[in-house]
């Protein structure tokens, strides 16, 4: 199988910021991402769980972007502008992808 190097960016962010983040990504030309639901977590602002929320206010989601290494900086800048004032975590991992022509 022919694989290509890529970057895997995972952004864990508050649910109410979802549209703002994906709009920022779109704006930066990042149109490929996958959104995972998050059940709960813990951080500097304490522990929370999805089954204890009446509103989306306390919930989070995780957005995963697979991206060509040379486009990483554009993505991070777009993400950072949204994440900046919010709680949330951004990690980058090296990976390889199948069917690299699609990215």
């Amino acid at each position: 199988m022919e694989m290509k190097d890529a970057k895997r960016v995972e952004i864990t962010i508050e649910a109410p910021m979802e549209t703002r983040l994906t709009d920022a990504l779109d704006g930066a030309g990042v149109t490929g991402y996958t959104i995972l639901p998050v059940m709960g977590g813990s951080g500097r602002s304490g522990r929370w769980s999805r089954e204890g929320q009446v509103s989306r206010a306390g919930g989070m989601i995780q957005i995963i972007c697979i991206i060509r290494p040379d486009r990483l900086d554009a993505l991070l800048e777009a993400a950072f502008s949204v994440v900046e004032r919010h709680i949330g975590v951004v990690t980058v991992t090296d990976c390889s992808v199948l069917r690299a022509e699609r990215f």
């Binding site: 508050e14 910021m17 089954e51 929320q53």
Partner: protein, 329 residues
């Protein structure tokens, strides 16, 4: 009068609705793993908005559009805009919250809690007291304006909130607030109920009328669980000043509602409902808006105040109190 209040409160305290809230609270406090799935909780609240909106609309179509309807809507708008200023002032005096947190909390008290409204409706019903159906529409109108007041307060008084991120984040916020799910569903169901009339109600009566109280019990069980978990994890934020605020503010709000209601000339039932709306604090629409627009404000504070203090206060003591007041005047 204190007698009637206590009597009413005691009676109220033994209603299944309150007891299920208490059960949820207790379960959370003993760390039981009891929980209502998120999807179910969301569906229950869709059901409540659907049912209450529809019934409100039917009742308006039935009794006709009152002259006071427009005044009530305007009163609701004004109350929602102004109450945050009162709340902000009080908070700065009574507590040590900084301007940003105070603004965020204040926004919650201008907006409303639909479940508190529903609970008041069901107390009225059990007492055989009628009320104006369009107060549902007033509830919808009161959801959002308080958010704008809170944002203005934050921008005016908090240096921290005045950074560049603001403009960008607020873009689209107004639209989001106006078209947020609960408002759309509540207003939409109201309009549909109005268009369908009593005939439409009879079609879906056994879905939205008969089982309503039972569904409400389940919903309040979940609210109790959420409030209890919130209290457990955030009790340390609850300084005496804040707790006091969480009780005083709804009473002040209810007086504002009372004055507005008597100026408009609402029925006793309608007065109670407008008082309840003014007294209640949001825990759905406003928190979500605050996370977007004032992310530096601490969500634990406003959620705990709204769900852990003011909601139970209104549910148990507040509503009977407002009812007694409305009946006296």
């Amino acid at each position: 009068m204190v007698d009637t209040i206590l009597n009413l409160a005691a009676q109220n305290l033994l209603s299944p609705i309150i007891l299920f809230f208490a059960l949820g609270l207790a379960a959370a406090l003993v760390r039981s793993d009891l929980s209502v799935p998120e999807a179910a909780a969301k569906t229950l609240s869709i059901y409540l908005l659907f049912a209450i909106g529809f019934k409100g609309g039917v009742s308006v179509s039935d009794h006709g559009v009152d002259a006071t309807l427009v005044f009530s809507l305007i009163a609701g708008l004004i109350l929602s805009f102004l109450l945050p200023f009162v709340a902000f002032g009080l908070l700065r005096v009574m507590t040590r919250l900084d301007a940003l947190d105070a603004a965020a909390v204040a926004g919650h008290y201008g907006s409303i809690s639909i479940v508190t409204f529903v609970a008041a409706t069901s107390v009225l019903q059990s007492q055989g007291i009628a009320s104006e159906g369009y107060l549902v529409a007033v509830a919808a109108v009161m959801e959002a304006p308080a958010i704008l007041s809170a944002l203005w307060l934050a921008a005016r008084f908090s240096t921290q909130a005045a950074n560049e991120g603001r403009a960008q984040d607020s873009k689209g916020l107004l639209r989001e607030i106006l078209f947020n799910g609960s408002i759309v569903l509540l207003v939409g169901s109201f309009v549909i109920g109005f268009l369908s009339g009593p005939q439409g109600l009879s079609d879906i009566e056994s879905f939205i009328v008969a089982p309503f109280k039972g569904v409400l019990c389940l919903f309040l069980l979940d609210m109790g669980l959420v409030a209890g978990r919130g209290l457990r994890s955030s009790a340390h934020y609850l300084r005496p000043g804040l707790i006091l605020f969480g009780i005083v503010m709804p009473i002040i709000g209810s007086f504002a509602g009372l004055i507005a209601a008597s100026m408009i000339g609402l029925s006793t039932g309608g007065t109670v409902l407008l008082m309840t709306l003014s007294a209640s604090a949001s825990y759905i629409a406003v928190p979500a808006a605050m996370r977007v627009a004032l992310p530096e404000a601490n969500p634990s504070i406003y959620l705990t105040m709204s769900l852990g203090i003011t909601f139970p206060f209104n549910l148990t003591i507040g509503i009977p109190l407002y009812l007694s007041l409305a009946q006296v005047i």
